[in-house]
């Protein structure tokens, strides 16, 4: 399994645990940490489970298993994948912090905008990385 796939899948597993921890925080006893914004916790948990866990594990497995190119590098430009990995996880963490800050404590909006740009760029890079490998084995 290539290094990028291992990082994507392990980060996906970490996001799964973190997402479930946020879900646990949502059902905390009343009165405990009342200033935590539940809306941000819920949205953060949903996106950790869908973007952080599902998307990353699917991309990690696809990068490993999809038909390889007959030429080198066989899995395409890995550098794109590393950029996608960094932008996706950076964007996801920035949104967790930024959304809680914005909703719970009246923070600024720029972290959310930056997070949106980072995650969108990451998805664009993922599509660029995987698209040429979606082909029949013979072609």
């Amino acid at each position: 399994m290539p290094l990028l796939s291992r990082w994507l899948i392990k980060s996906g597993l970490a996001a799964l645990v973190l997402g479930l921890c946020l879900e646990l925080l949502l059902v905390r006893p009343g009165g405990l940490w009342p200033s935590l914004p539940d809306a941000a916790l819920h949205l953060g948990a949903v996106h950790l489970l869908t973007v952080g866990w599902l998307l990353q594990v699917m991309v990690g497995v696809a990068f490993w298993m999809f038909p390889r190119h007959p030429t080198t590098p066989p899995r395409g430009p890995t550098r794109l994948g590393w950029w996608a990995f960094g932008l996706l996880n950076g964007g996801l963490l920035l949104r967790l912090v930024g959304e809680s800050w914005w909703l719970g404590f009246g923070g600024p909006r720029w972290p959310l905008m930056l997070s949106a740009l980072a995650q969108l760029a990451a998805v664009g890079l993922i599509v660029m990385l995987l698209w040429p490998r979606v082909r029949s084995m013979s072609s």
């Binding site: 909703l103 959310l112 599509v127 698209w131 979606v134």
Partner: protein, 146 residues
């Protein structure tokens, strides 16, 4: 990778990009907790949960699940193509229903059409969920090559 899988996975990648664009737009506009644009939230969910996740998984499963012996190693792919047509019809109908809702039930028909598409994929994949090698002896063999 079979042709049907390439279609399904490429469609899923396009829908991932579309869904992520809408999600990024929502996030930049004011966070996803902003409920003043419910149609964007519904589009975001439809494109990513139905549009990205399901065809990507089905396309990969169609490629990777154990094959049958004989002339149709991946079963009857025509059912999969019918499923793809129903899925796309239901997805486009779902998008139209979100953008231009005429009645409260306008989303139900496209959802039903998508469900029929998923049933087609289920029928196609079900017999291939088996141990590797099982049934290879009992499947009809392909015609000998000239």
């Amino acid at each position: 990778m079979p042709r049907l899988s390439t279609w399904l996975i490429r469609i899923a990648l396009v829908l991932l990009l579309l869904g992520a664009t809408i999600g990024a737009w929502r996030l930049a506009l004011g966070g996803l907790a902003d409920i003043t644009r419910p149609h964007l939230a519904a589009l975001h969910r439809l494109l990513l949960l139905d549009g990205w996740l399901i065809p990507f998984v089905i396309g990969t499963a169609h490629w990777m699940l154990p094959k049958h012996a004989g002339s149709r190693p991946r079963g009857d792919e025509r059912i999969g193509v019918v499923g793809l047509i129903l899925f796309l019809t239901g997805l486009i109908g779902g998008i139209v229903a979100i953008v231009n809702p005429t009645t409260t039930w306008s989303g139900a028909l496209p959802a039903g059409v998508r469900l029929l598409g998923y049933l087609c994929w289920l029928i196609m994949l079900w017999p291939r969920v088996k141990p590797f090698g099982l049934g290879r002896e009992t499947q009809p063999t392909s015609a000998p090559l000239p």
